[in-house]
């Protein structure tokens, strides 16, 4: 549904992402807002934003492979870990600059991801999902049993720097994270409206028909895994340099399950959905986090630790509700809202 009164006169215009003056204003406005955010945002909010953006990067990757290409992967945290450890090892053991290590760690994670995608030649759906769980554990096993990664202890990492300027505070590294998130979002959005993206969706919706159309499905599945894991690797690398510590315990299967939850809540196959899903579930986490001390005061019998249990409980409940009542996620709700706003006062 186009905004009313907007017509596309050329095909270029028809395939544009940003099409009206209003859109441009909105886009520039929100970018501007994001860029000045550290000037006034409290520490806590900034930390949350950093966290959200890194999660967005990782979940964007997952969206490409799972939401768009239909190959479910629970292994995303492992690929994140590959990126993080690769980057950490490069910077600390080999003295390579962060700026080179960042893309390299993405590529490294992508290559490991190819191993994760290899079973997709013969299996799909649930079987593949189990395969990614196996890949997850094996990757983590290898990481924790290598010497160079510091094993279980992990490594301590330096903050990135340009010359003498060190990105060592949350507001400084925020800009790196923000810019990379924007680039990667832009990339993902474009990918999906171009040839490769259409093929991904084709494979998801009907892999046999896609094959009849001349799509080498295995190649594209691998490509989807590569891109997805590239995103995860970048996210992992950013995460470890923001954190300045990399440790295998930061990447658990639960994270992978959470990521899947995020794309379900956000809406499978939708890029805005990634943002919706990540922000929704993150804020829910925060809510639980803030709420649980009060809850403990209210019902002392719960003990001091309901945050963790409430967290998963609410997460599970939200997923159940979404799967039953809105399987297409928040992105779909958003579309409905947009449409009804645009055709107001008519009803959809």
């Amino acid at each position: 549904m186009r905004p009313c009164g907007v017509f596309d006169e050329t095909y270029e215009k028809d395939i544009a992402i940003v099409r009206t003056r209003g859109h441009w204003l909105l886009l520039i406005g929100s970018l501007l807002f994001l860029f000045i955010l550290p000037l006034f945002a409290p520490y806590y909010l900034l930390n949350l934003t950093n966290n959200i953006f890194i999660t967005v990067i990782v979940v964007l990757g997952l969206q490409i492979v799972t939401g768009c290409c239909g190959q479910i992967s629970f292994g995303q945290p492992a690929f994140m870990a590959v990126g993080a450890f690769f980057s950490a090892v490069l910077t600390t053991k080999f003295g390579i600059s962060f700026w080179i290590a960042l893309p390299l760690s993405g590529i490294a994670a992508g290559l490991v991801g190819l191993i994760g995608g290899a079973p997709s030649l013969r299996i799909k759906g649930f079987y593949l999902a189990m395969g990614t769980i196996a890949i997850f554990y094996l990757t983590m096993w290898v990481i924790t049993h290598l010497h160079i990664t510091g094993g279980h202890q992990g490594l301590s990492v330096e903050s990135p720097s340009i010359g003498s300027f060190v990105f060592d505070t949350d507001e400084r590294i925020y800009y790196i994270i923000l810019i990379i998130t924007i680039i990667l979002t832009f990339f993902a959005r474009n990918l999906l409206r171009s040839r490769v993206g259409r093929v991904f969706v084709a494979i998801r919706d009907n892999d046999l028909a896609a094959e009849v159309m001349g799509v080498n499905t295995f190649y594209y599945k691998l490509l989807a895994f590569f891109i997805s894991c590239f995103y995860a690797g970048i996210g992992g690398s950013l995460f470890c340099h923001w954190y300045t510590v990399v440790n295998s315990e930061q990447y658990t299967l639960i994270h992978g399950l959470n990521f899947i939850g995020m794309i379900i809540v956000g809406g499978l196959g939708s890029i805005p959905g990634v943002f919706f899903g990540v922000i929704f579930l993150r804020l829910l986490d925060e809510l639980v986090l803030f709420g649980s001390p009060f809850l403990t005061e209210l019902i002392p019998k719960l003990g001091i630790a309901p945050a963790a249990s409430l967290g998963v409980m609410v997460f599970g409940l939200v997923l159940i509700i979404f799967l039953i009542f809105q399987p297409r996620g928040l992105a779909h709700t958003w579309e409905i809202l947009k449409t009804s706003y645009r055709i107001y006062p008519y009803k959809n």
Partner: protein, 412 residues
């Protein structure tokens, strides 16, 4: 035409509202005059694999604060208040909670982090934010130290203390043979250091096997079979909760006659199955709950009773909670006494903290010494399970001994 107009103004409207919201988020900083409350933070994994050990930390902090507020009149009349967060074993959540606690008004100057990966992640930040960290001692970045102080001796030092005493009690002519069987995690592996091995060698204990098992394993027989072939006298381990049961049950089933040599993690399991752990020797840094007439322990027990704490909370981390707030109380009181509330700085607190010597609160439930170079205490208490009960070794009244210094060599 009308809707067209809306299309155009909507983004502008949104922009304005975003800016409005952002102003709401903006709050001016406050200065530190004498505050109404003195907040202390706690981030711990109160759920997760280490929870049986770490969990009681939070009631310990709460009860300790209650004691300080009720009986010691707070810190110079200022009541203490605990902000406790469960990071559920996730470092990312821990970091998030850290930022939340940092933004408290007034700021929480002390923060206890019982989750090692979180501790590592916030060490550098805490130095910048002017916060004194009190955290688990496995953190390797603790030694360059920044603002971090350790809870208790290193795990391997506590085990080292136990080995030391066990060696002293060893009667046979030959060297005792010890096998290591521990979790395949950073915590479990913390005893697998060269320093620890060297120390064992130095005191003539032969390490004959080094085995690992997974935190979710339901059977350790394979490892035990290999260990059995080495005929060990002791099994040394660094685990928590059910892991102890798993090991000793397997040893029992394989008809092995071994003693467990470990650290305080065992204490919570002794009451569950005393026979299984008969003869086990472990090192701790705290007085044990088995004592009935120690005034400090009695005080603690009084508060436990008052707050309906259960038997399962009678473990070291509970006492550790007390120690934490008592140290905070002592350090802040001393500094405030010297310079007053308005001149209270992190630097001064840190200086005071680093010169803490043989601090023994509550008639000596614990003995703490910090130096600028070594930020963990080295005082420990060796214990033994004897006739199903816990008793102190060396001196039945309990005397703190100096544990072997097993810090990584590069940080000495």
């Amino acid at each position: 035409m009308k809707t067209n107009f809306f299309c155009f103004t909507k983004p502008a409207f949104l922009l304005v509202s975003i800016i409005c919201v952002s102003f709401l988020l903006f709050q001016p900083a406050t200065s530190l005059a004498k505050p109404n409350v003195f907040p202390v933070g706690v981030i711990a994994d109160l759920t997760g694999p280490y929870a049986p050990t770490v969990g009681p930390f939070s009631p310990g902090v709460q009860d300790g604060i209650q004691y300080i507020n009720e009986e010691l009149g707070g810190i110079d009349g200022v009541k203490m208040k605990a902000y406790i967060r469960d990071n559920t074993g996730k470092a990312s959540l821990g970091l998030q909670q850290y930022t939340e606690l940092v933004e408290l008004k007034p700021k929480a100057l002390f923060l206890a982090v019982a989750h090692a990966p979180t501790g590592e992640a916030v060490t550098k930040k805490a130095a910048k934010d002017g916060i004194i960290l009190y955290c688990g001692a496995t953190v390797p970045s603790l030694y360059p130290a920044e603002n971090a102080y350790g809870f208790y001796p290193l795990y391997e030092e506590m085990i080292g203390g136990a080995v030391k005493i066990a060696r002293r009690k060893w009667m046979k002519k030959r060297n005792p043979r010890a096998a290591i069987l521990t979790w395949d995690t950073s915590y479990g592996r913390s005893m697998m250091t060269q320093e620890f091995f060297d120390y064992c060698k130095k005191i003539n204990v032969d390490i004959v096997a080094k085995e690992l098992f997974g935190i979710r394993d339901i059977d350790v027989t394979t490892q035990m079979v290999r260990i059995r072939s080495k005929k060990p006298d002791w099994i040394m381990t660094c685990i928590a909760g059910g892991g102890y049961m798993l090991i000793m049950k397997a040893a029992q089933e394989l008809n092995m006659n071994v003693k467990m040599v470990t650290h305080v993690g065992l204490e919570s399991m002794v009451q569950v199955n005393p026979e299984l752990f008969e003869g086990a020797i472990y090192g701790t840094a705290m007085r044990s709950f088995h004592e009935n007439n120690h005034p400090g322990i009695n005080k603690i027990k009084e508060y436990m009773k008052k707050n309906n704490r259960s038997k399962k909370e009678e473990v070291m981390f509970y006492t550790l909670g007390w120690e934490y707030v008592l140290i905070v109380h002592k350090v802040v009181s001393d500094v405030v006494k010297k310079v007053g509330w308005s001149n209270l700085t992190t630097e001064l607190l840190k200086k005071e903290m680093s010169s803490l010597t043989n601090f023994m609160p509550l008639e000596g439930i614990v003995k703490t010494t910090y130096t600028p170079k070594r930020r963990t205490t080295r005082w420990g208490l060796p214990c033994e399970v004897f006739n199903g009960k816990i008793r102190y070794l060396l001196d039945p009244k309990g005397v703190f001994i100096e544990l072997p210094d097993l810090r990584p060599t590069k940080y000495r």
